[in-house]
Amino acid sequence: MQRTYLTGFLFAVALLFHISIFAKSDESEGEKDLKTEIDEYIQHHLKDSHDFSLFSYTKENGEHVYVGFPLPVILWDEGLKVFSSSKFHHGETLAEVDGNFYKLYHSKIYRTDAQGTINYDADDHPTNVKPLDFSMTKSVVMIIITGFLMFLLFRGLARSYAKNGGIPKGVGRFFEPIVLYIRDDIAIATIGEKRYKKYMSFLLTIFFFIWFLNMFGMTPLGVNVTGNIAITSALAILTFLITNFTGTKDYWKHLFDPLGDSMPWIAKIPLYIILIPIELLGIFIKPFSLLIRLYANMQAGHIVIMSLIGLMFIFKNWIGSSLSFGLAFAISLIEILVALLQAYIFTMLSALYFGFASEEHEHAEAH
Protein backbone atom coordinates (compact mmCIF):
# COMPACT_ATOMS: atom_id res chain seq x y z
CA MET A 1 0.00 0.00 0.00
CA GLN A 2 2.78 2.33 0.94
CA ARG A 3 4.48 1.59 -2.32
CA THR A 4 1.42 2.56 -4.30
CA TYR A 5 1.38 5.91 -2.56
CA LEU A 6 5.04 6.32 -3.25
CA THR A 7 4.73 5.60 -6.96
CA GLY A 8 1.69 7.84 -7.13
CA PHE A 9 3.67 10.60 -5.59
CA LEU A 10 6.55 10.05 -7.97
CA PHE A 11 4.15 10.31 -10.89
CA ALA A 12 2.71 13.54 -9.70
CA VAL A 13 6.21 14.94 -9.46
CA ALA A 14 7.08 13.55 -12.88
CA LEU A 15 4.08 15.17 -14.46
CA LEU A 16 4.80 18.47 -12.77
CA PHE A 17 8.34 18.39 -14.04
CA HIS A 18 7.32 17.87 -17.60
CA ILE A 19 4.63 20.49 -17.27
CA SER A 20 7.10 23.08 -16.08
CA ILE A 21 9.35 22.32 -19.02
CA PHE A 22 6.62 22.82 -21.58
CA ALA A 23 5.04 25.73 -19.83
CA LYS A 24 8.10 27.85 -20.28
CA SER A 25 8.21 27.45 -23.99
CA ASP A 26 4.56 28.31 -24.27
CA GLU A 27 4.80 32.03 -23.72
CA SER A 28 6.45 33.61 -26.73
CA GLU A 29 6.29 31.01 -29.51
CA GLY A 30 3.40 30.13 -31.72
CA GLU A 31 1.35 26.95 -32.06
CA LYS A 32 3.45 25.32 -34.74
CA ASP A 33 6.65 25.98 -32.88
CA LEU A 34 5.22 24.49 -29.75
CA LYS A 35 4.36 21.28 -31.59
CA THR A 36 7.82 21.05 -33.07
CA GLU A 37 9.35 21.76 -29.75
CA ILE A 38 7.31 19.06 -28.03
CA ASP A 39 8.27 16.65 -30.78
CA GLU A 40 11.92 17.54 -30.39
CA TYR A 41 11.67 17.31 -26.66
CA ILE A 42 10.21 13.82 -26.88
CA GLN A 43 12.86 12.76 -29.38
CA HIS A 44 15.51 14.17 -27.12
CA HIS A 45 14.07 12.52 -24.05
CA LEU A 46 14.05 9.10 -25.69
CA LYS A 47 17.73 9.33 -26.51
CA ASP A 48 20.67 8.87 -24.28
CA SER A 49 22.41 12.05 -23.25
CA HIS A 50 25.94 13.07 -22.43
CA ASP A 51 24.94 15.16 -19.44
CA PHE A 52 22.49 14.58 -16.64
CA SER A 53 20.07 17.46 -16.91
CA LEU A 54 17.11 17.38 -14.56
CA PHE A 55 15.24 20.19 -16.27
CA SER A 56 15.87 23.25 -18.39
CA TYR A 57 14.18 26.56 -18.96
CA THR A 58 14.59 29.65 -21.11
CA LYS A 59 15.37 33.03 -19.61
CA GLU A 60 13.64 36.15 -20.82
CA ASN A 61 16.68 37.11 -22.89
CA GLY A 62 16.39 33.79 -24.74
CA GLU A 63 19.23 32.05 -22.94
CA HIS A 64 18.68 28.36 -22.17
CA VAL A 65 19.44 27.37 -18.61
CA TYR A 66 20.00 23.72 -17.79
CA VAL A 67 19.85 22.39 -14.28
CA GLY A 68 21.84 19.22 -13.83
CA PHE A 69 25.41 18.07 -13.91
CA PRO A 70 27.87 17.15 -16.64
CA LEU A 71 29.19 13.62 -17.11
CA PRO A 72 32.58 12.42 -18.26
CA VAL A 73 33.01 11.87 -21.99
CA ILE A 74 35.36 9.05 -22.92
CA LEU A 75 36.36 8.85 -26.58
CA TRP A 76 38.66 6.58 -28.48
CA ASP A 77 39.92 8.67 -31.35
CA GLU A 78 43.55 7.86 -32.11
CA GLY A 79 44.12 7.59 -28.40
CA LEU A 80 41.98 7.81 -25.30
CA LYS A 81 40.36 11.19 -24.73
CA VAL A 82 38.57 11.95 -21.50
CA PHE A 83 36.89 15.28 -20.81
CA SER A 84 33.79 16.67 -19.17
CA SER A 85 30.60 17.00 -21.17
CA SER A 86 30.29 20.55 -19.88
CA LYS A 87 32.65 21.46 -22.71
CA PHE A 88 29.80 20.96 -25.17
CA HIS A 89 27.53 23.39 -23.35
CA HIS A 90 24.59 21.15 -24.20
CA GLY A 91 25.53 20.98 -27.85
CA GLU A 92 25.83 24.70 -28.26
CA THR A 93 29.61 24.83 -28.54
CA LEU A 94 32.43 22.68 -29.84
CA ALA A 95 34.69 20.84 -27.47
CA GLU A 96 38.36 21.17 -28.19
CA VAL A 97 40.51 18.35 -26.91
CA ASP A 98 44.17 17.85 -27.82
CA GLY A 99 43.74 19.91 -30.98
CA ASN A 100 40.66 17.98 -32.17
CA PHE A 101 37.21 19.51 -32.30
CA TYR A 102 34.13 17.54 -31.36
CA LYS A 103 30.55 18.44 -31.92
CA LEU A 104 27.45 17.04 -30.29
CA TYR A 105 24.88 16.46 -33.00
CA HIS A 106 21.61 14.62 -32.22
CA SER A 107 23.19 13.20 -29.06
CA LYS A 108 26.11 11.75 -31.03
CA ILE A 109 29.67 13.01 -31.00
CA TYR A 110 31.34 13.82 -34.34
CA ARG A 111 34.81 15.09 -35.07
CA THR A 112 34.67 18.37 -36.93
CA ASP A 113 36.94 21.19 -37.99
CA ALA A 114 37.38 24.34 -35.93
CA GLN A 115 34.16 25.83 -37.30
CA GLY A 116 32.09 22.80 -36.40
CA THR A 117 30.96 22.05 -39.96
CA ILE A 118 28.99 18.89 -40.39
CA ASN A 119 29.03 17.41 -43.89
CA TYR A 120 26.04 15.45 -45.07
CA ASP A 121 25.71 12.72 -47.64
CA ALA A 122 22.84 12.35 -50.08
CA ASP A 123 20.53 10.84 -47.42
CA ASP A 124 21.19 13.70 -45.00
CA HIS A 125 23.44 11.59 -42.81
CA PRO A 126 26.56 13.22 -41.38
CA THR A 127 29.75 11.95 -43.00
CA ASN A 128 32.07 13.25 -40.30
CA VAL A 129 34.28 10.86 -38.40
CA LYS A 130 32.48 9.33 -35.47
CA PRO A 131 34.97 8.46 -32.74
CA LEU A 132 34.29 5.41 -30.58
CA ASP A 133 32.23 6.77 -27.75
CA PHE A 134 32.59 5.08 -24.37
CA SER A 135 31.23 8.03 -22.42
CA MET A 136 29.58 7.68 -19.06
CA THR A 137 26.25 8.83 -20.39
CA LYS A 138 23.04 9.39 -18.47
CA SER A 139 22.03 5.76 -19.08
CA VAL A 140 25.34 4.46 -17.80
CA VAL A 141 24.94 6.57 -14.68
CA MET A 142 21.44 5.18 -14.19
CA ILE A 143 22.71 1.63 -14.67
CA ILE A 144 25.33 2.22 -12.02
CA ILE A 145 22.76 3.78 -9.67
CA THR A 146 20.36 0.88 -10.23
CA GLY A 147 23.11 -1.67 -9.73
CA PHE A 148 24.16 0.05 -6.55
CA LEU A 149 20.59 0.19 -5.30
CA MET A 150 20.03 -3.48 -6.08
CA PHE A 151 23.23 -4.39 -4.34
CA LEU A 152 22.28 -2.46 -1.21
CA LEU A 153 18.73 -3.78 -1.21
CA PHE A 154 19.47 -7.45 -1.68
CA ARG A 155 22.63 -7.41 0.37
CA GLY A 156 20.45 -6.01 3.15
CA LEU A 157 17.91 -8.76 2.62
CA ALA A 158 20.63 -11.42 2.65
CA ARG A 159 22.03 -10.00 5.86
CA SER A 160 18.69 -9.81 7.59
CA TYR A 161 18.32 -13.57 7.22
CA ALA A 162 21.52 -14.21 9.06
CA LYS A 163 20.62 -11.69 11.75
CA ASN A 164 17.04 -12.74 12.37
CA GLY A 165 17.39 -16.47 12.01
CA GLY A 166 15.86 -16.94 8.56
CA ILE A 167 13.19 -14.28 8.80
CA PRO A 168 13.54 -11.28 6.49
CA LYS A 169 13.26 -7.77 7.86
CA GLY A 170 13.07 -4.30 6.45
CA VAL A 171 12.53 -3.30 2.82
CA GLY A 172 13.87 -6.62 1.62
CA ARG A 173 10.81 -8.32 3.02
CA PHE A 174 8.78 -6.85 0.21
CA PHE A 175 11.07 -8.47 -2.36
CA GLU A 176 11.34 -11.91 -0.81
CA PRO A 177 8.06 -13.19 -2.27
CA ILE A 178 9.17 -11.94 -5.68
CA VAL A 179 12.50 -13.74 -5.37
CA LEU A 180 10.61 -16.87 -4.38
CA TYR A 181 8.17 -16.42 -7.24
CA ILE A 182 11.04 -16.23 -9.72
CA ARG A 183 12.59 -19.30 -8.21
CA ASP A 184 9.45 -21.43 -7.99
CA ASP A 185 7.24 -20.29 -10.82
CA ILE A 186 9.80 -19.18 -13.37
CA ALA A 187 13.06 -21.04 -12.83
CA ILE A 188 11.89 -24.35 -11.38
CA ALA A 189 8.77 -24.43 -13.54
CA THR A 190 10.58 -23.95 -16.83
CA ILE A 191 14.09 -25.28 -16.23
CA GLY A 192 13.40 -28.00 -13.73
CA GLU A 193 14.33 -28.81 -10.17
CA LYS A 194 17.70 -30.29 -11.08
CA ARG A 195 19.31 -27.60 -13.20
CA TYR A 196 17.67 -24.31 -12.25
CA LYS A 197 20.32 -23.28 -9.75
CA LYS A 198 23.02 -22.16 -12.14
CA TYR A 199 20.62 -19.79 -13.91
CA MET A 200 19.15 -18.25 -10.78
CA SER A 201 21.61 -15.38 -10.47
CA PHE A 202 21.09 -14.27 -14.04
CA LEU A 203 17.31 -14.57 -13.86
CA LEU A 204 16.97 -12.71 -10.58
CA THR A 205 19.39 -9.99 -11.62
CA ILE A 206 17.80 -9.46 -15.01
CA PHE A 207 14.31 -9.32 -13.56
CA PHE A 208 15.06 -6.72 -10.92
CA PHE A 209 17.39 -4.83 -13.23
CA ILE A 210 14.76 -4.41 -15.91
CA TRP A 211 12.00 -3.76 -13.44
CA PHE A 212 13.89 -1.10 -11.51
CA LEU A 213 15.11 0.63 -14.64
CA ASN A 214 11.59 0.58 -16.08
CA MET A 215 10.34 2.14 -12.89
CA PHE A 216 13.10 4.73 -12.96
CA GLY A 217 11.86 5.60 -16.42
CA MET A 218 8.58 6.63 -14.82
CA THR A 219 10.22 9.03 -12.37
CA PRO A 220 11.04 12.68 -12.98
CA LEU A 221 14.60 11.68 -13.77
CA GLY A 222 13.06 10.78 -17.09
CA VAL A 223 15.61 8.22 -18.08
CA ASN A 224 14.67 5.90 -20.88
CA VAL A 225 17.27 3.21 -20.23
CA THR A 226 15.35 0.03 -20.98
CA GLY A 227 13.87 1.72 -24.04
CA ASN A 228 17.33 1.92 -25.52
CA ILE A 229 18.22 -0.63 -28.15
CA ALA A 230 21.81 -0.95 -26.96
CA ILE A 231 20.66 -1.97 -23.48
CA THR A 232 18.07 -4.48 -24.62
CA SER A 233 20.44 -6.01 -27.13
CA ALA A 234 23.14 -6.37 -24.48
CA LEU A 235 20.66 -8.23 -22.26
CA ALA A 236 19.33 -10.35 -25.12
CA ILE A 237 22.84 -11.27 -26.24
CA LEU A 238 23.64 -12.44 -22.72
CA THR A 239 20.53 -14.62 -22.79
CA PHE A 240 21.61 -15.92 -26.19
CA LEU A 241 25.12 -16.73 -24.99
CA ILE A 242 23.98 -18.43 -21.81
CA THR A 243 21.38 -20.45 -23.73
CA ASN A 244 23.89 -21.77 -26.22
CA PHE A 245 26.83 -22.24 -23.90
CA THR A 246 24.83 -24.25 -21.43
CA GLY A 247 23.13 -26.22 -24.19
CA THR A 248 23.28 -29.96 -23.63
CA LYS A 249 24.03 -32.62 -26.19
CA ASP A 250 20.31 -33.21 -26.51
CA TYR A 251 19.74 -29.56 -27.32
CA TRP A 252 22.19 -29.59 -30.20
CA LYS A 253 21.06 -32.96 -31.35
CA HIS A 254 17.51 -31.71 -31.41
CA LEU A 255 18.66 -28.70 -33.38
CA PHE A 256 20.40 -30.63 -36.13
CA ASP A 257 18.32 -33.77 -35.99
CA PRO A 258 14.85 -32.65 -34.96
CA LEU A 259 13.10 -35.76 -36.18
CA GLY A 260 15.40 -38.18 -34.41
CA ASP A 261 14.96 -41.85 -35.17
CA SER A 262 11.36 -41.53 -36.23
CA MET A 263 12.19 -42.11 -39.91
CA PRO A 264 15.05 -43.48 -42.04
CA TRP A 265 17.89 -41.08 -42.78
CA ILE A 266 17.19 -41.03 -46.50
CA ALA A 267 13.72 -39.67 -45.91
CA LYS A 268 14.98 -37.01 -43.56
CA ILE A 269 17.31 -35.33 -46.05
CA PRO A 270 14.71 -33.33 -48.01
CA LEU A 271 12.96 -32.33 -44.81
CA TYR A 272 16.16 -31.25 -43.18
CA ILE A 273 17.05 -28.94 -46.03
CA ILE A 274 14.15 -26.84 -44.75
CA LEU A 275 14.06 -27.78 -41.08
CA ILE A 276 17.65 -27.19 -40.05
CA PRO A 277 17.84 -23.61 -41.35
CA ILE A 278 14.57 -22.88 -39.56
CA GLU A 279 15.90 -24.33 -36.31
CA LEU A 280 19.15 -22.41 -36.67
CA LEU A 281 17.30 -19.22 -37.42
CA GLY A 282 15.20 -19.86 -34.34
CA ILE A 283 18.27 -19.62 -32.14
CA PHE A 284 18.73 -16.05 -33.23
CA ILE A 285 15.10 -15.07 -33.53
CA LYS A 286 14.38 -15.95 -29.91
CA PRO A 287 16.76 -13.42 -28.31
CA PHE A 288 16.00 -10.95 -31.08
CA SER A 289 12.32 -11.01 -30.13
CA LEU A 290 13.35 -10.37 -26.51
CA LEU A 291 15.40 -7.39 -27.57
CA ILE A 292 12.71 -5.82 -29.74
CA ARG A 293 9.86 -6.53 -27.33
CA LEU A 294 11.42 -4.77 -24.37
CA TYR A 295 12.76 -1.90 -26.46
CA ALA A 296 9.49 -1.27 -28.30
CA ASN A 297 7.32 -1.52 -25.20
CA MET A 298 9.33 0.91 -23.15
CA GLN A 299 9.92 3.28 -26.04
CA ALA A 300 6.23 3.30 -26.95
CA GLY A 301 5.17 3.87 -23.36
CA HIS A 302 7.44 6.87 -23.06
CA ILE A 303 6.29 8.32 -26.37
CA VAL A 304 2.60 7.94 -25.45
CA ILE A 305 2.96 9.54 -22.03
CA MET A 306 5.10 12.38 -23.24
CA SER A 307 2.75 13.05 -26.15
CA LEU A 308 -0.27 13.12 -23.86
CA ILE A 309 1.47 15.54 -21.56
CA GLY A 310 2.41 17.63 -24.59
CA LEU A 311 -1.25 17.60 -25.67
CA MET A 312 -2.15 19.49 -22.52
CA PHE A 313 -0.27 22.51 -23.82
CA ILE A 314 -1.60 22.21 -27.30
CA PHE A 315 -5.24 22.19 -26.19
CA LYS A 316 -4.80 25.32 -24.08
CA ASN A 317 -8.27 25.01 -22.61
CA TRP A 318 -9.20 23.45 -19.36
CA ILE A 319 -11.47 20.71 -20.73
CA GLY A 320 -9.02 19.36 -23.26
CA SER A 321 -6.05 19.82 -20.99
CA SER A 322 -7.63 18.16 -18.01
CA LEU A 323 -8.84 15.33 -20.24
CA SER A 324 -5.34 14.70 -21.52
CA PHE A 325 -4.06 15.00 -17.98
CA GLY A 326 -6.47 12.27 -16.92
CA LEU A 327 -5.45 10.19 -19.90
CA ALA A 328 -1.77 10.72 -19.18
CA PHE A 329 -2.37 9.66 -15.61
CA ALA A 330 -4.25 6.53 -16.67
CA ILE A 331 -1.55 5.58 -19.16
CA SER A 332 1.06 6.16 -16.48
CA LEU A 333 -0.72 3.65 -14.27
CA ILE A 334 -0.74 1.18 -17.13
CA GLU A 335 2.95 1.86 -17.69
CA ILE A 336 3.66 0.87 -14.09
CA LEU A 337 2.04 -2.45 -14.87
CA VAL A 338 3.94 -2.69 -18.16
CA ALA A 339 7.18 -2.01 -16.30
CA LEU A 340 6.61 -5.11 -14.19
CA LEU A 341 5.12 -7.14 -17.01
CA GLN A 342 8.04 -6.55 -19.38
CA ALA A 343 10.53 -7.51 -16.69
CA TYR A 344 8.49 -10.64 -16.06
CA ILE A 345 8.22 -11.53 -19.75
CA PHE A 346 11.93 -11.04 -20.37
CA THR A 347 12.81 -13.23 -17.38
CA MET A 348 10.19 -15.84 -18.16
CA LEU A 349 11.23 -16.20 -21.80
CA SER A 350 14.92 -16.30 -20.91
CA ALA A 351 14.16 -19.05 -18.43
CA LEU A 352 12.16 -20.86 -21.08
CA TYR A 353 15.08 -20.76 -23.50
CA PHE A 354 17.44 -21.95 -20.79
CA GLY A 355 14.98 -24.71 -20.09
CA PHE A 356 15.00 -25.85 -23.71
CA ALA A 357 18.78 -25.70 -23.85
CA SER A 358 19.49 -27.60 -20.65
CA GLU A 359 16.81 -30.19 -21.18
CA GLU A 360 17.93 -33.78 -21.13
CA HIS A 361 15.60 -35.97 -23.00
CA GLU A 362 13.75 -38.15 -20.63
CA HIS A 363 10.75 -37.80 -22.90
CA ALA A 364 12.16 -38.13 -26.39
CA GLU A 365 8.80 -38.99 -27.90
CA ALA A 366 7.12 -35.84 -26.67
CA HIS A 367 8.41 -33.78 -29.59
Binding site: G147, F151, T205
Partner: protein, 166 residues
Protein backbone atom coordinates in the same frame (compact mmCIF):
# COMPACT_ATOMS: atom_id res chain seq x y z
CA UNK B 1 15.45 -0.50 -39.00
CA UNK B 2 17.96 2.04 -40.22
CA UNK B 3 16.97 4.34 -37.42
CA UNK B 4 17.36 1.51 -34.95
CA UNK B 5 20.90 0.87 -36.09
CA UNK B 6 21.51 4.63 -35.99
CA UNK B 7 20.36 4.72 -32.43
CA UNK B 8 22.55 1.83 -31.39
CA UNK B 9 25.40 3.12 -29.28
CA UNK B 10 28.37 0.81 -28.99
CA UNK B 11 29.64 2.63 -25.90
CA UNK B 12 26.40 2.13 -24.05
CA UNK B 13 26.31 -1.50 -25.16
CA UNK B 14 29.82 -1.98 -23.85
CA UNK B 15 29.07 -0.42 -20.47
CA UNK B 16 25.78 -2.22 -20.11
CA UNK B 17 27.36 -5.62 -20.80
CA UNK B 18 30.27 -4.97 -18.48
CA UNK B 19 28.21 -3.54 -15.65
CA UNK B 20 25.49 -6.14 -15.95
CA UNK B 21 27.89 -9.08 -15.85
CA UNK B 22 29.63 -7.51 -12.88
CA UNK B 23 26.24 -7.04 -11.22
CA UNK B 24 25.26 -10.67 -11.84
CA UNK B 25 28.43 -11.93 -10.19
CA UNK B 26 28.41 -9.43 -7.34
CA UNK B 27 24.79 -10.09 -6.49
CA UNK B 28 25.33 -13.83 -6.76
CA UNK B 29 28.12 -13.69 -4.24
CA UNK B 30 26.64 -11.19 -1.81
CA UNK B 31 22.90 -11.43 -2.26
CA UNK B 32 21.27 -14.23 -4.23
CA UNK B 33 23.32 -17.07 -2.86
CA UNK B 34 22.81 -16.17 0.81
CA UNK B 35 19.16 -15.33 0.19
CA UNK B 36 18.42 -18.58 -1.63
CA UNK B 37 20.35 -20.58 0.91
CA UNK B 38 18.53 -18.94 3.79
CA UNK B 39 15.18 -19.51 2.14
CA UNK B 40 16.14 -23.12 1.40
CA UNK B 41 17.19 -23.68 4.98
CA UNK B 42 13.98 -22.16 6.21
CA UNK B 43 11.93 -24.35 3.90
CA UNK B 44 13.85 -27.43 5.01
CA UNK B 45 13.18 -26.41 8.60
CA UNK B 46 9.49 -26.00 7.96
CA UNK B 47 9.35 -29.33 6.15
CA UNK B 48 11.12 -31.08 9.01
CA UNK B 49 8.90 -29.42 11.57
CA UNK B 50 5.84 -30.50 9.64
CA UNK B 51 7.12 -34.06 9.39
CA UNK B 52 7.84 -34.08 13.12
CA UNK B 53 4.36 -32.79 13.83
CA UNK B 54 2.94 -35.50 11.60
CA UNK B 55 4.92 -38.14 13.47
CA UNK B 56 3.79 -36.77 16.79
CA UNK B 57 0.22 -36.86 15.56
CA UNK B 58 0.60 -40.49 14.51
CA UNK B 59 2.16 -41.33 17.86
CA UNK B 60 -0.68 -39.61 19.58
CA UNK B 61 -3.15 -41.54 17.49
CA UNK B 62 -1.41 -44.76 18.41
CA UNK B 63 -1.55 -43.87 22.08
CA UNK B 64 -5.21 -42.99 21.81
CA UNK B 65 -5.89 -46.20 19.93
CA UNK B 66 -4.06 -48.16 22.61
CA UNK B 67 -6.08 -46.48 25.31
CA UNK B 68 -9.23 -47.18 23.41
CA UNK B 69 -8.25 -50.80 23.07
CA UNK B 70 -7.47 -51.10 26.76
CA UNK B 71 -10.74 -49.49 27.63
CA UNK B 72 -12.58 -51.86 25.34
CA UNK B 73 -10.84 -54.83 26.85
CA UNK B 74 -11.63 -53.64 30.34
CA UNK B 75 -15.21 -53.11 29.33
CA UNK B 76 -15.42 -56.59 27.84
CA UNK B 77 -13.85 -58.06 30.92
CA UNK B 78 -16.29 -56.25 33.14
CA UNK B 79 -19.09 -57.56 30.99
CA UNK B 80 -17.83 -61.10 31.36
CA UNK B 81 -17.40 -60.69 35.09
CA UNK B 82 -20.84 -59.27 35.50
CA UNK B 83 -22.29 -62.09 33.48
CA UNK B 84 -20.53 -64.67 35.56
CA UNK B 85 -21.66 -63.00 38.74
CA UNK B 86 -25.20 -62.97 37.52
CA UNK B 87 -25.00 -66.64 36.65
CA UNK B 88 -23.55 -67.50 40.04
CA UNK B 89 -26.24 -65.49 41.74
CA UNK B 90 -28.93 -67.21 39.73
CA UNK B 91 -27.47 -70.58 40.53
CA UNK B 92 -27.21 -69.83 44.20
CA UNK B 93 -30.75 -68.58 44.29
CA UNK B 94 -31.97 -71.61 42.38
CA UNK B 95 -30.05 -73.97 44.65
CA UNK B 96 -31.38 -72.24 47.72
CA UNK B 97 -34.86 -72.44 46.33
CA UNK B 98 -34.54 -76.17 45.66
CA UNK B 99 -33.09 -76.82 49.07
CA UNK B 100 -35.81 -74.82 50.73
CA UNK B 101 -38.40 -76.72 48.75
CA UNK B 102 -37.04 -80.04 49.84
CA UNK B 103 -36.64 -78.92 53.42
CA UNK B 104 -40.08 -77.43 53.47
CA UNK B 105 -41.64 -80.54 52.05
CA UNK B 106 -39.89 -82.60 54.67
CA UNK B 107 -41.04 -80.31 57.42
CA UNK B 108 -44.56 -80.28 56.12
CA UNK B 109 -44.57 -84.05 56.02
CA UNK B 110 -43.23 -84.29 59.57
CA UNK B 111 -45.78 -81.73 60.69
CA UNK B 112 -48.50 -83.70 59.00
CA UNK B 113 -47.27 -86.88 60.63
CA UNK B 114 -47.14 -85.17 64.02
CA UNK B 115 -50.58 -83.71 63.52
CA UNK B 116 -51.88 -87.15 62.60
CA UNK B 117 -50.40 -88.80 65.62
CA UNK B 118 -51.56 -85.93 67.86
CA UNK B 119 -55.00 -86.29 66.38
CA UNK B 120 -54.98 -90.01 67.02
CA UNK B 121 -53.81 -89.49 70.57
CA UNK B 122 -56.45 -86.80 71.11
CA UNK B 123 -59.20 -89.01 69.71
CA UNK B 124 -58.04 -91.89 71.92
CA UNK B 125 -57.99 -89.56 74.87
CA UNK B 126 -61.43 -88.29 74.08
CA UNK B 127 -62.64 -91.87 73.76
CA UNK B 128 -61.24 -92.72 77.18
CA UNK B 129 -62.74 -89.65 78.74
CA UNK B 130 -66.09 -90.33 77.05
CA UNK B 131 -65.94 -93.88 78.45
CA UNK B 132 -65.09 -92.57 81.92
CA UNK B 133 -67.82 -90.02 81.74
CA UNK B 134 -70.24 -92.65 80.54
CA UNK B 135 -69.28 -94.88 83.39
CA UNK B 136 -69.65 -92.07 85.89
CA UNK B 137 -73.00 -91.11 84.35
CA UNK B 138 -74.07 -94.73 84.38
CA UNK B 139 -72.92 -95.06 88.00
CA UNK B 140 -74.90 -91.98 89.04
CA UNK B 141 -78.00 -93.16 87.12
CA UNK B 142 -77.77 -96.62 88.62
CA UNK B 143 -77.21 -95.19 92.09
CA UNK B 144 -80.30 -93.07 91.68
CA UNK B 145 -82.43 -95.89 90.43
CA UNK B 146 -81.22 -98.29 93.02
CA UNK B 147 -82.27 -96.01 95.80
CA UNK B 148 -85.92 -96.87 95.14
CA UNK B 149 -87.12 -100.45 95.03
CA UNK B 150 -89.64 -100.04 92.44
CA UNK B 151 -87.28 -98.43 90.22
CA UNK B 152 -84.71 -101.16 90.88
CA UNK B 153 -87.10 -103.73 89.82
CA UNK B 154 -88.06 -101.81 86.77
CA UNK B 155 -84.46 -101.37 85.85
CA UNK B 156 -83.80 -104.98 86.17
CA UNK B 157 -86.74 -105.62 84.05
CA UNK B 158 -85.64 -103.21 81.43
CA UNK B 159 -82.22 -104.62 81.46
CA UNK B 160 -83.48 -108.05 81.17
CA UNK B 161 -85.72 -106.91 78.41
CA UNK B 162 -82.71 -105.42 76.64
CA UNK B 163 -80.69 -108.52 77.07
CA UNK B 164 -83.43 -110.48 75.40
CA UNK B 165 -83.35 -108.18 72.58
CA UNK B 166 -79.65 -108.58 72.33
Amino acid sequence: MEQLIEQFSLGLFFWQTLLFIALVFLLWKYAWKPILNAVNDREEGIKNALAAAEDAKKEMQNVTADGEKLLQEARAEREVMLKEAREIKDKIVADARDLAQVEGDKMIKQAQATIESEKKAAVADIKNQVADLSLQIAEKVIKEQLSDDKKQIKLVDDMLGDIKLN
